[in-house]
């Protein structure tokens, strides 16, 4: 195919080809980001004995790591907006490696907090966000499948890391293990190397000069700048707010879909992780031996592993994709229902059933976690959206297990913790369901209005803007149009200055 003479006429996301290699890279990267903090728990007893600290002081390492991974989301987004995914992931991998290697030479628990908690946590944050972002750039039609496959990295990595960590610990002690783990984390750099940048800059080889500006405009995704930039492409927004928005799109807070997602997810995470943390202790509490209790977690991980790509495939089907938000709310409510039924499980057999269903529900939710956000805000603004969402989730993620723990300690019974988690998640699911119902209706209305104004002179401007935003350009099948159209709606609204709240 001859190169396009027009700088703006770029083809859409490939939906295949090198994209699958990128999915593999994201698989590795996301896997490390989610599974690594959990895998470190094997070393804690030894470190506790070595430094002579209490268990809670050691548990802080995990908390700091988790908090940094989620809290550094916006920084990650800003860096991706500026430099693209690849350099950020490679730098993140390098940082993780440096963090763990320096941790192996630590002589106090405070140094461990810094090296393992902050540095490695920050490196993992720089891994997680860009991996999710680049999937949105490479896929559109098959995006749910790609997301499902990439998120499956988490349980797979966990299943690999747990025995590996045990093996390293038996042979090298905790210091040697940290050293080798630092080297293993460098594989994130390899994953990052696979993230070939994509966008108008790459495709139009001859249009390098204008292409660069296109990239800048594209990745900022600042819709309020769209009309001005259309006329004068060389000019960048010099205004203070616009400059901040260039790096991190705060105008997202006016986006209806984004707000719905944010509130629903923040609520959901309050009860998301606590059951996993307390599943094994609960099993031991009702009299099951240690190995069978650990086996419950393995069942969870295996079912999770299978559920994620499967959910991706289901979410990609033409019946579900247009209504993917409903599917997401359903899976959250299903997850909550599992927890509510858990106290009824009496005996090991029923706990196994619970673990299997929990694994299924957990996988379904995780697979669609980022897909639904992409669906709501569009791939261009997703970069900033994911950063803002993760920092908001950070608080509830950290609060969830301790609240569960206090419930257990106060009442002396695990069932209240399960009831609380179940109730919160069912509530979140119902909330999302209702709000998305309204959202879909309003979007359908706006779609009708948009079609009615097709002959409007403003449509000329819309078309040229469309050409520059290549991710909306390609002609697609019916079901795909709706998620894309609402991106157009969003942009149009920004242009017209209507508030969506």
């Amino acid at each position: 195919m001859p190169p396009p003479a027009d700088p703006g006429q770029a083809p859409g996301p490939p939906d295949g080809g090198w994209g699958w290699v990128v999915v593999f890279g994201a698989f590795v990267s996301i896997g490390f980001a989610y599974a690594f903090p959990k895998g470190l728990a094997i070393f804690y007893k030894e470190i506790q004995d070595f430094f002579g600290t209490s268990y809670s002081e050691i548990a802080w390492i995990s908390s700091i790591m988790l908090a940094t991974t989620y809290g550094a989301g916006p920084i990650s987004s800003i860096l991706v907006n500026r430099y693209g995914s690849r350099p950020v992931v490679m730098f993140g991998g390098l940082l993780c490696g440096i963090g763990m290697v320096s941790a192996s030479f630590c002589t106090s628990i405070l140094q461990l907090y810094i090296c393992v908690g902050f540095i490695t946590g920050f490196g993992l944050a720089l891994n997680l966000q860009p991996s999710v972002i680049i999937i949105g750039k490479y896929f559109l039609k098959r995006r749910p499948i790609a997301n499902g496959l990439a998120m499956a990295g988490s349980p797979v990595m966990l299943c690999t890391l747990a025995p590996l960590n045990q093996f390293l610990f038996d042979n090298f002690g905790w210091r040697g293990s940290f050293l080798i783990l630092g080297a293993i984390l460098l594989h994130c750099c390899v994953a990052g190397a696979l993230f070939r940048p994509i966008g108008p800059a790459i495709v139009a080889g001859k249009t390098q000069a204008t292409g660069r500006k296109d990239v800048l405009k594209e990745v900022t995704g600042n819709a309020t700048n769209a009309p001005t930039e259309n006329k004068m492409e060389e000019e960048e927004g010099k205004d203070c707010c616009e400059k901040i928005n260039q790096y991190l799109d705060f105008s997202l807070f006016k986006h209806r879909g984004f707000l719905i997602y944010l509130i629903g997810n923040v609520l959901m995470f309050l009860g998301f992780f606590a059951p996993i943390v307390f599943l094994a202790p609960y099993a031991k509490h009702i009299g099951i031996d240690e190995y069978s209790a650990a086996f419950l977690l393995s069942i969870l991980a295996i079912v999770d592993m299978i559920a994620r790509p499967t959910t991706g495939i289901i979410a990609n089907s033409k019946w579900v994709r247009p209504r993917i938000q409903y599917f997401f709310s359903f899976s959250i409510a299903f997850n909550g229902a599992c927890h509510l039924l858990c106290p009824l499980a009496s005996g090991y057999k029923w706990l196994v059933v619970y673990s299997a269903f929990f694994g299924l529900a957990f996988g379904m939710v995780c697979a669609m976690l980022f897909e639904t956000l992409m669906d709501l805000v569009g791939a261009s603004r997703f970069t900033s959206a994911v950063g803002l969402v993760t920092i908001a989730e950070c608080c509830t993620i950290l609060l969830g297990p301790p609240i569960g723990g206090t419930l257990i300690d106060t009442f002396g019974d695990y069932k209240y913790m399960f009831i609380k988690c179940g109730a919160v998640m069912v509530l979140a699911g119902i909330f999302l369901f209702i709000m998305n119902y309204y959202n879909y209706r309003i979007l359908a209305k706006e779609e009708k209005e948009r079609k009615a104004k097709e002959e409007d002179p403003q449509s000329v401007r819309t078309e040229s803007e469309d050409r520059n935003n290549w991710n909306k350009e390609p002609a697609l099948d019916g079901p795909e149009l709706e998620p894309l159209r609402e991106e157009g709606e969003g942009l149009k609204k920004e242009m017209k200055g209507t508030n969506e709240v």
């Binding site: 190169p3 040697g176 293990s177 050293l179």
Partner: protein
């Protein structure tokens, strides 16, 4: 036989010791069923009970009576001190002398509860029924073998209680249960006690009396040269009197004295049932098996820990191998990308040139045709 003594206490002590040691005929020393009673209350009672109990035992009556007399006499005078001492853990200090040790034992003897352990025999003969009892201090103990109701039809059962090869006198407590009373004072009393019921079939049960076990580690602790290693031994629920650390070098044991080499070894006891041995500045010679020994009233218990000291090169090799692998992979990825870009560029340029060529030929062709027309 009473030995000539210097101190009053010592003499009393020795007497008591002799009297309470097992006689060759195997009679267990404390025969009377002495349950929880305050000595002050039951002094007289105990006298009579002891003497009544003596009728059953075949041990030397005279010395036992005397011992009992001694005990009850002492109890009456030292009653206050007794109770005080029984509840005062300070008596069981870090480094008690054998005197105080045994005295505490005997004083505790008089007003301590009898711990009862029971085993229900219901199984088929052949399957051994066992029960492990952990004791850390001197106790009065009652071991009971009870026959299940379904076997009550069996008559003419011959019941024997044995420790090793010695037979012990037992009491037929109820119709189908038999018990022995033991006063466990020192290590020699610990072991396995078996009750055997011989009828048409033989049913037996064994009680294993032992000191608390120490939780060591089966897997070795891995550490590095120049680093510090912390070895920990724990007992659960039982507080030993003293902890000692040894290093096993081949076949001999070297005691690790914490007060001697303070820049090499640091021994901490956090709480009484945990001990830490911190070894600083590790070298290859520190590699080996370490033993922590907990001294209880009734004996010693040993835990084994293995320490491995590695040099820094050991983890460094896999580390460098993995880093090299990562660098190679990243290089391959980038090279492949550059190669495929060049290929694309070359292909594009070729096409572009072809297009240009076609355009040129077209325009030339037009000119030629027009020229031809002009000529004609």
């Amino acid at each position: 036989m009473p030995v000539s003594f210097s101190g009053k206490r010592l003499g009393r002590l020795l007497l008591l010791l002799l009297c309470f040691s097992p006689s060759p005929s195997g009679g267990s020393p404390a025969d009377a069923a002495m349950t929880t009673q305050d000595v002050s209350q039951s002094q007289a009672n105990s006298m009579t009970k002891m003497q009544a109990g003596l009728n059953e035992s075949s041990s030397e009556p005279i010395t036992t009576t005397r011992a009992v007399n001694w005990q009850t006499q002492r109890s009456s005078s030292d009653h206050l001190r007794l109770e005080h001492n029984a509840s005062n853990p300070a008596l069981l200090g870090p480094d008690p002398t054998p005197q105080e040790f045994k005295q505490a034992t005997n004083e505790n003897m008089s007003n301590v509860t009898v711990v009862k352990h029971e085993v229900l025999l219901s199984g088929v003969s052949g399957t051994p029924v066992e029960k492990t009892i952990t004791l850390d201090r001197a106790t009065r103990i009652e071991l009971l073998c009870k026959l299940d109701a379904k076997y009550s039809h069996l008559k003419s059962l011959q019941v024997t209680w044995k420790k090793g090869n010695e037979t012990i006198r037992h009491i037929n407590k109820t119709e189908n249960s038999w018990s022995v009373h033991l006063q466990i004072l020192d290590n020699s009393k610990l072991g396995s006690y078996t009750c055997t019921l011989k009828g048409e079939e033989e049913i037996s049960a064994t009680f294993h009396l032992q000191v608390p076990k120490i939780q060591g580690r089966e897997k070795p602790i891995v550490s590095y040269e120049g680093d510090t290693a912390v070895l920990i031994c724990k007992t659960f629920g039982y507080t030993p009197i003293a902890w000692t650390w040894y290093m096993a070098n081949g076949s001999d044991q070297i005691t690790i004295n914490g007060s001697l080499l303070t820049d090499k070894y640091v021994i901490n006891g956090g709480s009484a049932n945990v001990t830490h041995l911190k070894i600083l500045k590790l070298t290859k010679e520190d590699d080996g098996v370490y033993q922590c020994e907990a001294a209880f009233e009734l004996g010693k218990s040993v835990g084994k820990l293995k320490l491995e000291v590695l040099s820094l090169m050991v983890p460094l090799k896999p580390f460098l191998a993995i880093v090299a692998e990562v660098v190679v992979l990243v290089t391959i990825v980038f090279l492949y990308e550059m190669y495929s870009k060049k290929k694309d560029k070359y292909a594009n340029e070729k096409e572009f040139d072809q297009v240009e060529q076609l355009k040129f030929e077209e325009s030339n062709g037009l000119e030629n045709s027009s020229a031809r027309h002009r000529k004609i």
